[in-house]
Homo-oligomer: 338 residues x 2
C-alpha cells in the first residue's frame, strides 16, 4: 500500500524529548490546574477532575511552556505557566461542550462526563472552566496574551459551528475542510504557542515563528487523527477508530475517497453519510474504500507537508534543545498514524 511505503521513509519523531525537558514546568502547570479547578460547589471539581486526571498528553499547555522556553526570551516563566493552565482549561471546556454536542460516549478512554453527571452539568462546568481560564490570564497582567486566547476561543467556536452545519455534507471541498480544522483544532495550538512566547517577552519574530509552528502542527495533528480514525496506515484499528464515520462526520480521508469513487459508490456514501443510515458492516466497507483509493496515504502526505511547514517556521529561533524537541514533535504528530 502506498501510505505504508511513503510513511516508512519518513522520520519517526518523538514527543518524549519535549515531555522530559518540560517536566518541571508541567508539574507547576498541573499544580495550577488542580488548584484553580476547585470550587465550593462539589460537582465542579469532581467533573473537572474526571477529565483532567484522565490526562492525555497535555499537548497544548506543553506548547505554551515550550514556546516560552524556545523563544530565547526566557525572562520569567511564571506568566507562561499560568497561560498554559488557562490553555488547558479552554481545551477542557471545549471537550466538555463537544461531547455534549456530538453525543460522544468516550473521552480519553473514560465514560464521557455528560453520561455520568448529565449534559447540563457538562455545559455549565465547561462555562466555569472557560471563565477560570480568563481569571488566570488576568492574573498575568498580559493583555496581549489574553487577546490572543480570547480571539482563539471565538475562532474555535466558529469552527465548531461550521463543522456542525457542514459535517454531513459530501460536497464539502478540501479548502473548506482545512478551514474547519484550522479553526477548531489548529487555532488553539497556534494561540497556545503564541501566547507562551508573548508571556515570556519574546521578540516579534519569535512570536510569529511560534504561532506559525503551532498552526501548522495543529493541522498536521488533526489530519493524522482523521487518518487514525480509519486505522491510519497500519492494519490494526485503534480503540476509538470509526468514531467519525459513525457520527457521519466528513473528514479528509472520506472526502478524498468519495471523490475517487465518484459514479461508482455514490449510493453507498449518500446512504451512510448524507442520510445517516449506517449498518454495522458499513464502517468496514467505508474503510476498504478509503484504504483502497489511497485516501489515507494522500491525507498523511498532506499532514507531512504541514509538519514540514511547522519545522520550517522554527528556523528564526535560536538553536536549542527546545527547538530540536519541537521539531521532533512535528514528525511525531504525523508518524503516529503512519
Amino acid at each position: 500500500m502506498d501510505a505504508v511505503t511513503v510513511a516508512e521513509s519518513r522520520p519517526k519523531g518523538d514527543v518524549e524529548p519535549l515531555v522530559q525537558l518540560a517536566k518541571p514546568d508541567m508539574a507547576a502547570v498541573d499544580a495550577l490546574i488542580v488548584e484553580r479547578m476547585q470550587s465550593q460547589v462539589p460537582v465542579i471539581p469532581l467533573l473537572a477532575e474526571h477529565l483532567v486526571s484522565a490526562g492525555g498528553k497535555r499537548l497544548r499547555p506543553l506548547l505554551t511552556v515550550a514556546a516560552a522556553r524556545a523563544s530565547g526570551a526566557g525572562e520569567d516563566i511564571g506568566a507562561s505557566r499560568k497561560l498554559a493552565a488557562a490553555v488547558e482549561f479552554i481545551h477542557t471546556a471545549t471537550l466538555l461542550h463537544d461531547d455534549v454536542v456530538d453525543g460522544s460516549n468516550l473521552r480519553r478512554g473514560k465514560t464521557a462526563a455528560h453520561l455520568i453527571w448529565g449534559a447540563p452539568s457538562s455545559v455549565l462546568v465547561g462555562d466555569f472552566l472557560f471563565a477560570r481560564a480568563f481569571e488566570l490570564m488576568v492574573e498575568t497582567g498580559q493583555m496581549r496574551a489574553l487577546g490572543i486566547l480570547a480571539t482563539a476561543s471565538s475562532v474555535i467556536s466558529e469552527g465548531e459551528v461550521l463543522q456542525l452545519t457542514r459535517a454531513h455534507d459530501l460536497n464539502l471541498d478540501q479548502d473548506t475542510y482545512l478551514r474547519i480544522i484550522a479553526a477548531k483544532t489548529a487555532e488553539l495550538f497556534a494561540a497556545a504557542a503564541e501566547a507562551g512566547a508573548v508571556g515570556a517577552g519574546a521578540d516579534e519574530e519569535a512570536v510569529q515563528a511560534l504561532r506559525a509552528y503551532g498552526m501548522n502542527l495543529g493541522i498536521a495533528f488533526q489530519l493524522a487523527d482523521d487518518a487514525l480514525d480509519y486505522g491510519g496506515a497500519s492494519a490494526t484499528l485503534g480503540k476509538n477508530a470509526g468514531d467519525d464515520f459513525h457520527e457521519g462526520k466528513v473528514t479528509l480521508p472520506l472526502l478524498l475517497a468519495v471523490a475517487r469513487t465518484q459514479g461508482r459508490d455514490d449510493a453507498f456514501w449518500e446512504r451512510t453519510i448524507n442520510q445517516g443510515q449506517r449498518t454495522d458492516d458499513d464502517f468496514r466497507r467505508a474503510r476498504e474504500l478509503i484504504i483502497g483509493t489511497g485516501a489515507i496515504g494522500a491525507t498523511l502526505d498532506t499532514a507531512w507537508d504541514y509538519a514540514a511547514a511547522a519545522q520550517h517556521a522554527l528556523k528564526p529561533l535560536p538553536a536549542s534543545e527546545w527547538r530540536d524537541a519541537l521539531e521532533q514533535l512535528a514528525d511525531f504528530a504525523v508518524s503516529r498514524a503512519a
Copy 2:
C-alpha cells in the same frame, strides 16, 4: 391580602427615566452588539440575532453605562460602552446555555433558540458570544474591568451548577437560596455596574458603591421575579407564570410556603417537587398555598429590603439625575411584582 396592603404603601419607581437618560449611550451599545455578533459562519449571527432582537430591557448593559455616568468620573464613556456590550454578550451566552440546561420552550416571548437551531448550536453560539465578550474587553485595555467580569462569569456558572444540583431540594435553607441567586443573577448586576465605574475611571468609593448597588438590585430583581412566577401580589397571572413550579425549581415563595404548611401539606410538596409528579391542577393548588400562607408578601418584603439597601449604597455618589434614576430603578425592580 398582606402583600397587596404592604405594596400599596411603597413607591412605584420607574425604569423609564434611566432608559431616557441612557438613550444615546445604549444606541451606541446596540450598534456594537450587532457589529460584534457578526461571523462568516451564517448560523451564528442568525441565532444571536434571534435573542438580541427580541430585546428585553437590556438592564445589565444599562447598568454599566449608568454606573459610568453616575460615578461622577465621566472621563471617557467609550470603554464603558464596550464593557456594556460585553456584559450583554455574557448575559446572552448564559441565557442560551440556561435554556438548553432547563429545556425551556420560551425566551423573551419567542421560541427558545435550541428548539429552532438545536441544542448543539445554542451551546456553541453561547461559547462564541462569551469569547467575543472577552475580545471586546481586551480592546478597552482595562485589565481590572476584565478581571471583574471574568470572576463574575465563573461565579455565575458556580451558581447555576449549585441551583442545578439543589433545585429540587425542599430542605434548601433560605441562606443557601439567597447564595444561589446572588451568584446566578445578582453577581452580573454587581459586576456590570462595577465594571462600568472602573471603565470610566471612577474613584474607589464610587466603584464599591456601584457594586453594592448592583448586588442588592440583582437580588431584589430576582426575588420579584420569583414572586411573579406565582402571579406576584396581583390576581392575574403573567404569561410565563408557573415556569419555576413546572420545572420543579425551588424558589423563596415555595420554600416559605413549605415551611408554613409543614405537617399539613408535606405529601403534596413531596410529590410535586421532590418526586416531580405534577398534574395540571397542581400549580393552582401550589399557588393557593403560597398566597394563602403570605409567602408572596414575605418574599416581596425581603425584596424591598434589598431594594432599600441598593438605594442606600448610592449615597456616596454625587447627586445627579443618573443617581436619581438608579434609585427609581430599585423601586421599580420590586414594584412590578407588587
